[in-house]
Symmetry: C2
Subunit: 254 residues, 2 copies
């Protein structure tokens, strides 16, 4: 009925370091310490460890676990509800991240594909199929169909009209960019209009516009040969010019 660190650790499936750490932060102290300085745990400590591990499995922090189990009449279920809300907040943030990564990839692939004059419908289908092939099965199994389909929604729901708008904006960016380059000044009014058109184009894909994303994408235009080629067909140096205009537009440069 008495356990040393290693014994208790083995039984509970954790490391002895963890038990020492729990002692250190005062969340689980041994029943007593023997003459050699060994930590000796008893029945009550086993029970307490159970609770700790239980909450730990639910992702509750040790600090909160401490509060829950040290105050005798602490409302554990309310603590779990609060914890649930925190987890949901985390998930929403994570979803935003994933959505933005998805859209960045789509944007990239899309521009390249469209540059190659592939059909829009074909492109959408292709993207979805590629995605499916790569990790669709695994995700659908573990995560459910709604989730996966949702990821493609934005893309699928973009109908012909919206596509035409995207195309018009694309053309307008190129036209305005060409005109602006004659002034040679990325901060001039026309260049800023080009940047604004580019933002509008970007917003066809992104739900949430941020300066950082916009400026980051502009930088990529210069770094990625395929993008650079797309814009440079207007005039040599157009990608760099657009980047400068966008950096000024987003307030990242003066």
């Amino acid at each position: 009925m008495e356990y040393t660190v290693q014994r208790l650790a083995k039984m509970a499936g954790i490391s002895s370091r963890t038990l020492r750490y729990y002692d250190e932060i005062g969340i689980l102290k041994p029943a007593r310490i023997n003459s050699s300085g060994y930590r000796i745990y008893g029945k009550a400590e086993v029970d307490r460890l159970q609770q700790i591990l239980f909450y730990r499995e639910l992702g509750v922090s040790l600090e909160e676990i401490k509060e829950i189990i040290t105050s005798p009449n602490f409302n554990a279920i309310n603590a779990l509800r609060e914890h649930r809300e925190k987890l949901l907040t985390k998930r929403r943030q994570l979803d935003l991240l994933i959505a933005n990564v998805d859209k960045t990839i789509a944007l990239w692939e899309g521009r390249i594909t469209m540059t190659d004059k592939e059909k829009f419908e074909g492109f959408k289908q292709k993207m979805i199929e590629e995605n499916e092939e790569k990790y669709g099965k695994e995700i659908r199994e573990k995560y459910g169909d709604e989730e996966v389909d949702k990821s493609y929604n934005k893309l699928k729901n973009m109908n012909k009209e919206e596509y035409d708008r995207v195309e018009k904006l694309s053309a307008a960016v190129l036209d305005t960019l060409k005109e602006a380059m004659e002034t040679g000044d990325p901060s001039c009014e026309i260049a800023q209009k080009a940047a604004d058109l580019h933002r509008q184009w970007l917003c066809c894909f992104w739900d949430k516009y941020t300066k950082e994303a916009h400026a980051g994408l502009a930088q990529m235009y210069v770094d990625d040969e395929r993008f650079k080629a797309y814009y440079d067909k207007v005039k040599a140096g157009a990608a760099e010019f657009l980047r400068e205009a966008i950096l000024i537009y987003t307030g990242m440069k003066k």
Copy 2:
């Protein structure tokens, strides 16, 4: 066109500490250092910072960002795809946590409510409504209806038959527990059967059974007066006896 730390930081919306840190880890070094030791950043550094912030917004680690932007012909889009997979893995883990927290809450509330002889359907409806009232609106707006509805699925989909099974198991646990207590030994065969029945009952709610969760719940039976009352109606000390049996059943105690 030249910036000190503070100026660049303000422009980019980050702290000067961050810029010093980026210098320290070699991800963004200043163009030069002036006679007083001040960091001076130029045009190229602004561009580089853009990229860093762009990837950072997508949740990419600084270490990976370093790899992406320092190797000139690194495939950024593949890096993003890999990153996307990592994010998806994270989300799946998070979903598992949330689902388990939900079920724990449901289990708890459920036992209490059922103890109070409320109707099962009423209980389900009540739980869902309460949830809706508390954080439904916010979540549905930001996260989409499918998500929220999915959370309630397990609960809703539990039909009358399944409910009957739960009730039978509940009764069987109590019966077997009563019988086992006459032996006075939580490790005896009958007591272990009670623990196993309890596990079966638990699995009606939890998708994923773990020893820790089982043992943790058993501990709660002793700590929470309402649970204790439920089991102690069999006989005084029944909650403790069941806990001991479960701790042995889950291998947490000998």
